[in-house]
C-alpha cells in the first residue's frame, strides 16, 4: 500500500546495505539496516 522511492536510475549502483541478525530470545533471523537493531515482532498483520 505504501511505496518507497530510492536511489537514482543513472550513475549509482543500487545497494541495500542490510546486515544479517539473529534474535537472542526467539532465535528468529532477519536482515536489518540502521544503527539500533532490535528484534522485530513476527507474524503481525491481517
Amino acid at each position: 500500500m505504501c511505496t518507497v522511492g530510492g536511489g537514482p536510475d543513472i550513475g549509482e549502483v543500487e545497494t541495500l546495505a542490510a546486515r544479517d541478525y539473529e534474535c537472542l530470545d526467539c532465535k528468529s533471523k532477519f536482515q536489518g539496516m540502521g544503527r539500533r537493531p532490535m528484534c522485530p515482532p513476527v507474524n503481525q498483520g491481517m
Binding site: 511505496t3 518507497v4 522511492g5 536511489g7 536510475d9 532477519f30 540502521g34 544503527r35 539500533r36
Partner: protein, 155 residues
Amino acid sequence: MHIPLSDDEIAYIEGEDGTIALAKSKGRFFYLETEEREVILFTEPEDLMVASSFGRGEKIRRGLHCTLFQLRELGAPLIVLPKGHPASPRLKTVVSIGPFTRLSCTIQPGTHPEQNVLCGSEEFHGLEIVAGPRGAEVKGWLAEGKGAALVVERF
C-alpha cells in the same frame, strides 16, 4: 530553511506542482519489502519520514498524512516495486525514511529500496532534507518564496 518539528507534528512543503510531507520516525522500525526479501529499517528518534506526491492542496496533504500514519502508527510495510512495474507511474505517494533525503525527478517512482533519494516533482529536484533533534533542515529549495508554502499541523 529550518523546520521545527515535534513528534506529534507533520510539515508540508508545498510547491507549484508537488508536495512533500515530513514527520519524525520516533525511532520506530519499518518493514522494507522487495521482491526477493524483507529488510527491517531501524531508525533514530530524530530521523524523518519524507513522503512526496505530485499536486498540492488539502486532498494531497490528506493523502500524504494517511501514508505516513499507516507507516508509523499502524506498522504498514514499505513496498519496493520491481523496475518497470506498471504500477510505478500510478503511484500517488512515495516515501523515504532516514536521517537524510535528497529529492530527485530522474528516478522511477517506487522501484528503489535505498532510503536516501526520493522521487519528487521537478521543482524539488536536488532539494535536501536533513533530520535534526529539533526538526528538519531543508537545503536547495530554489522555489522557496515563489508561490510555495510551508504548513505545519498536528499529526
